[in-house]
């Protein structure tokens, strides 16, 4: 797909994120916006999925290990046609399918229920192993947060995925440098991310997480790489696309009010 097309789609997804989180009155805009370009590329260019057949046999699978970024997953799935966009406005409301953290038993296109950090990554390793066991072609994609790398389970899974040579597994770290209590470096440094995964036996590629060309090239390289899982470390901006949210840890888990939402959507080229 043309990068101009992807850019247009990611813009729509960002607008949906703002609308959904505003409607909910709570949620995680910062870490959803930073991941929008990665998810756009995955769902609109890379992955073999069918919105009209969410359980398609031997499909590619995406797991959002940083489950709090549910708004970006829901917005991407809605944009792709897995369900009507109106449902996004029910985010976090009681009795809604759009739970605060993704629920695989409620939303078509959600492969695994996540929210507790590290677990989605562990499950993704299991799915990749199952695919190899059954000699399936389906590939497994998983997105982690940078703060999430502080969870020990991430390293258990990194170890086993390399041990089992899961070259059908591609992981991303949404490296926006910020977590709830501030910078990663102030709270609990995770650097050097690339050297850590390399030493654990992964193929590591570092990119600008907002550059569709780089995201595409990294995914192409990952597909060709045999014998190791691939970790794509995507340098991103938390809150990307909304000027007053960019690079601001405060927008990790706060919803924009009416005025802020309006301004954000205008900046993104949309209407409230």
């Amino acid at each position: 797909m043309e990068f101009k097309e992807l850019e247009k789609i990611s813009r729509n997804i960002r607008i949906s994120i703002i609308k959904a989180v505003h409607s909910a009155g709570s949620g995680h805009p910062g870490g959803s916006l930073s991941a929008a370009d990665i998810l756009t590329t995955l769902f609109f260019q890379e992955m073999n999925v069918d919105a009209s057949n969410p359980k398609m046999e031997d499909r590619d699978k995406f797991i959002l290990s940083k489950g709090h970024a549910a708004p970006v997953l829901y917005s991407t799935l809605a944009e792709k046609g897995f369900f009507p966009k109106e449902e996004l406005l029910t985010l976090r409301k009681i009795n809604s399918k759009m739970q605060g953290h993704p629920d695989m038993n409620k939303v078509p296109g959600v492969e695994m229920s996540t929210g507790s950090l590290g677990q989605g990554f562990s499950v993704a390793g299991g799915v990749a192993m199952a695919n190899k066991m059954d000699k399936k072609n389906g590939r497994v994609y998983v997105l982690l947060g940078d703060g999430e790398l502080q969870e020990g389970l991430v390293w258990e899974s990194a170890m086993s995925s390399a041990h089992y040579k899961l070259d059908n597994l591609v992981a991303f770290v949404d490296w926006n440098g910020l977590q709830i209590d501030g910078n990663n470096d102030d709270v609990m440094t995770v650097k050097p991310i690339d050297k850590k995964f390399e030493s654990f036996g992964w193929n590591v590629i570092s990119i600008d997480g907002h550059d569709f060309n780089q995201i595409t090239e990294a995914l192409d390289a990952a597909r060709k790489f045999k014998g190791k899982p691939t970790m794509i470390i995507a340098k991103t901006v938390k809150g990307k696309g909304v000027s007053f949210m960019e690079g601001n840890a405060g927008w990790h888990g706060k919803a924009p009010n009416e005025e802020e939402a309006k301004k954000a959507i205008e900046e993104l080229g949309g209407v409230m």
Partner: protein, 310 residues
């Protein structure tokens, strides 16, 4: 005449049978396969056996990955590390999603023996039964263990099966009817009832036989399934015998005793006594010495019965 086999041994054997019958069965372990007995399955079906190394959280996370890919998974390690260390992964990734993963945990309770306190879990039944939708089973002998494991594997969804290290005498014969979710009345009686689970089922029978020599006629129920618990058989016992002693190789806090009390309190309050670990940690020793020291015996059950009858 008396056959003695550990329930973990029965587990290893039934996995071989199930492996032949069900090509979707995947067995996983965390470097304890020679102790949990999954190693036998690993030898017979190496392409369907996965060792995750000493990483119990990742064991159960990866197990979910297999389950959501259409497999039925039996994932094993010691009970302390399954129910304890991996609790949150089991709760959030298996329980909440209703994943088809059977947590088959061995070496539960004090009869772990020489390894000592760090490895002897008395909390696992309490932990697992608080998870919504989790089936919790503690078979009393190898015959019932095989039958219950088969039924657990048949059902789609999460289950915790608690297995022991120690060889125990058979309670049942092959023809006996064992149904998941239904307590087994293995001895009729009217003076009072012992409701036991796991290795205490044997101890309960010994206690009941001792007391019958004194003319006291005690009912014994094997409550192998602690969740969902058989409320009907409990209420019947309360009505017909007027007193219940529970017995488990587990803390008296939160396990079988509590589960039975939850029914009795609400539906038919009568006198109860709990036999089990008295809110202590364990220690190293031979299993029989430890059972003696910590009151995991038929003698402790008899004392509890006499307290109610006094």
């Amino acid at each position: 005449m008396s056959v003695k086999m550990a329930t973990r041994q029965a587990y290893g054997e039934v996995l071989l049978e199930l492996g032949k019958e069900n090509e979707n069965l995947v067995v996983m372990d965390a470097d304890l396969s020679k102790s949990t007995m999954t190693a036998e399955f690993g030898k017979a079906f190496p392409e369907r056996f996965v060792n995750m190394g000493i990483a119990e959280q990742n064991l159960y996370g990866a197990a979910v990955g297999f389950a959501i890919s259409g497999k039925v998974v039996c994932a094993s390690t010691f009970a302390m590390f399954a129910a304890g260390r991996a609790f949150e992964i089991i709760r959030n990734s298996i329980g909440y999603t209703k994943a088809n993963v059977k947590i088959c945990a061995t070496h539960a309770g004090i009869t772990v023996g020489e390894d000592g306190a760090s490895h002897q879990t008395f909390e696992d039944i309490a932990l697992m039964r608080t998870i919504p939708g989790m089936i919790v089973v503690n078979p009393g002998d190898s015959v019932s263990a095989k039958k219950l494991l088969r039924q657990v594997v048949e059902i789609v969804g999460p289950a915790y099966v608690r297995l022991g290290r120690l060889a125990v005498p058979n309670v049942y014969v092959e023809d006996d009817n064992i149904v998941l979710g239904k307590g087994n009345c293995i001895k009729e009686g009217s003076a009072l009832t012992i409701i036991a689970t796991g290795i205490m089922v044997n101890e309960a029978m010994i206690a009941a036989e001792e007391m019958s020599k004194e003319g006291i006629d005690i009912r014994v129920i094997d409550m192998h399934t602690i969740k969902p618990i058989d409320e009907e058989i409990i209420v019947k016992a309360a009505k017909e015998t007027g007193g219940i002693v529970t017995a488990e190789e587990h803390s008296i806090i939160g396990g079988l005793g509590s589960a039975v009390a939850e029914v009795v309190c609400r539906k038919y309050p009568i006198k109860m006594e709990f036999v089990g670990q008295l809110d202590t940690f364990g220690e190293s020793g031979k299993p029989d010495q430890l059972k003696e020291k910590y009151g995991i015996t038929s003698e402790a059950i008899i004392a509890a019965c006499k307290k109610i009858l006094a």
